[in-house]
């Protein structure tokens, strides 16, 4: 368990119900700054719901979440969120998308947009609409959108899905660089082997609860589940 005095994210007995179905069943955890957390678990374990709650998109039915001492919505400037869908307009180019989202964060000019597009390995001059991008390019542009406002916490839901191994490794290395720069990174993935040696901690979820937190992929007394 982490030292509460250094924890930047505190999740306190969070329950999230959708009708009668409980997606999160009393999740309690604390997370330190500058750590890379890989969140693992089978489908329906509650990983995405936990990430959405941390992003302020899902209001807990009970319990509290604190990020830098604020509610997730108040802390939105400190948090970057990348969902499974791209959260991008298919009809606009990557640069046009980022330019729009930059305005939402009060970022003027194109310099920052160009910087993050280059950081994820894409070309800011690309005029093609995002709808015509390959899945891998779309994932990278989605990551560019999430890091646009230079957040201190990154919440990434399956960033490596539908991405070829080489691009996935490049993205993992990029995320590791962000962790090294002091960012706190959360990644939900079913490709946990990609994060071996990258993630500081593997957070195991099952049936809406965190059941284990380990420093490596090896879990005591349990199989690796859906780890590929």
């Amino acid at each position: 368990m982490n030292d509460p005095s250094t924890s930047i994210i505190i999740v306190n007995n969070v329950i999230k119900q959708f009708g009668r179905f409980a997606a999160l069943r009393g999740v309690t955890a604390e997370f330190d700054a500058g750590q890379f957390h890989a969140i693992l678990g089978e489908n329906g374990a509650g990983k995405t719901t936990l990430l959405r709650a941390l992003a302020g998109l899902a209001q807990p039915t009970r319990g509290e979440i604190s990020i830098f001492g604020k509610s997730p919505r108040e802390a939105c400037r400190e948090v970057g969120y990348m969902a499974h869908p791209s959260l991008l307009y298919d009809e606009m180019s990557g640069m046009e998308n980022l330019r729009y989202f930059a305005r939402l964060y009060g970022i003027a000019g194109d310099a920052r947009c160009e910087e993050v597009i280059r950081a994820v390995g894409l070309d800011p001059e690309l005029t093609r609409a995002v709808g015509q991008y390959s899945q891998g390019m779309r994932q990278r542009m989605s990551l560019a959108r999430a890091i646009l406002h230079d957040p201190r916490v990154l919440l990434l839901d399956e960033p490596f899905s539908s991405v070829d191994v080489q691009s996935a490794r490049a993205m993992a290395a990029l995320l590791k660089g962000m962790r090294d720069a002091g960012k706190t990174v959360f990644v939900i993935t079913h490709q946990a082997l990609l994060l071996e040696g990258v993630a500081d901690e593997f957070v195991w979820m099952h049936a809406g609860q965190i059941v284990d937190r380990t420093a490596s992929l090896a879990r005591s007394g349990s199989s690796a589940g859906d780890v590929q």
Binding site: A55, G56, L57, A58, Q59, R73, C76, R77, V79, Y81, A83, P85, S86, L87, L88, Y89, D90, E91, M92, E96, Y100, F101, R103, L104, Y105, G106, R145
Partner: protein, 225 residues
């Protein structure tokens, strides 16, 4: 305040750009309005005097139905790829999104009105007896009345399964006072039989009340799950 207007401007420019590329809303509105003009033209064969009494109703009912297609499109494009979540996790104010959408819809419906009004005038042989300039405030206030509630209720029905049905069900009843004022005001000006001042004030009051209510409630709608 500065950030509110910059977000409104950025969102409006983005919406106009998306509409310019897809032409989803404008095409469906124009096609629908054209159908209304043609069908009504074959259904009635009014004299010029009769036209002045009925054309106000035909025009505004046509625009009301046509605007529903645009209003549904506004939010539908925010659902694709869950782009609305990107707005929800940003610090941009909810009201900026609402105002940008409402202003964008106002522009789209105004373009439709500018294109379709000459057709109504030609096909129904309309000659204005009263002060024609007074049609402008009625058109501006009436269009805003349609789009401000329409934008709000379209957002409200966004996550419902049958949102295309939900929007008219919610919008039409609440628009009755505005539509009555628009039709009566337009008819008053076309026939020159009475002053449209009362209807203009009624529309202005309606707009102020509903714009305030929509702005006060939109944050809840945006962040609802």
């Amino acid at each position: 305040m500065n950030s509110l207007w910059s977000v409104i401007l950025a969102t409006m420019v983005k919406d106009i750009r998306l509409e310019w590329r897809s032409k989803d809303a404008l095409n469906s509105m124009l096609f629908f309005s054209l159908l209304v003009v043609v069908i009504f033209m074959f259904s009635f064969d009014p004299l010029a005097e009769e036209s002045r009494h009925i054309v106000g109703g035909l025009v505004w009912v046509g625009f009301l139905f046509a605007s529903v297609t645009s209003l549904n499109q506004t939010w539908a494009r925010e659902l694709r790829n869950q782009v609305l979540d990107a707005y929800r996790v940003s610090p941009a104010p909810a009201n900026a999104l609402f105002l940008a959408k409402a202003l964008g819809n106002f522009i789209f419906v105004a373009v439709l009105e500018a294109l379709m009004t000459p057709l109504f005038v030609i096909f129904y042989n309309v000659r204005v007896v009263g002060p024609a300039w007074q049609l402008l405030p009625i058109a501006i206030l009436g269009t805003w009345a349609l789009v401000v509630n329409g934008t709000f209720f379209a957002a409200m029905s966004l996550r419902t399964r049958s949102r295309e049905i939900m929007l008219p069900l919610l919008l039409f009843p609440i628009s009755i006072p505005a539509v009555v004022s628009m039709v009566a005001g337009t008819t008053a000006i076309l026939t020159g039989e009475e002053s449209a001042h009362f209807y203009t004030v009624l529309l202005l009051t309606y707009d102020v009340v509903f714009t305030t209510a929509c702005l006060a409630l939109f944050g809840m709608i945006l962040h609802a799950e």
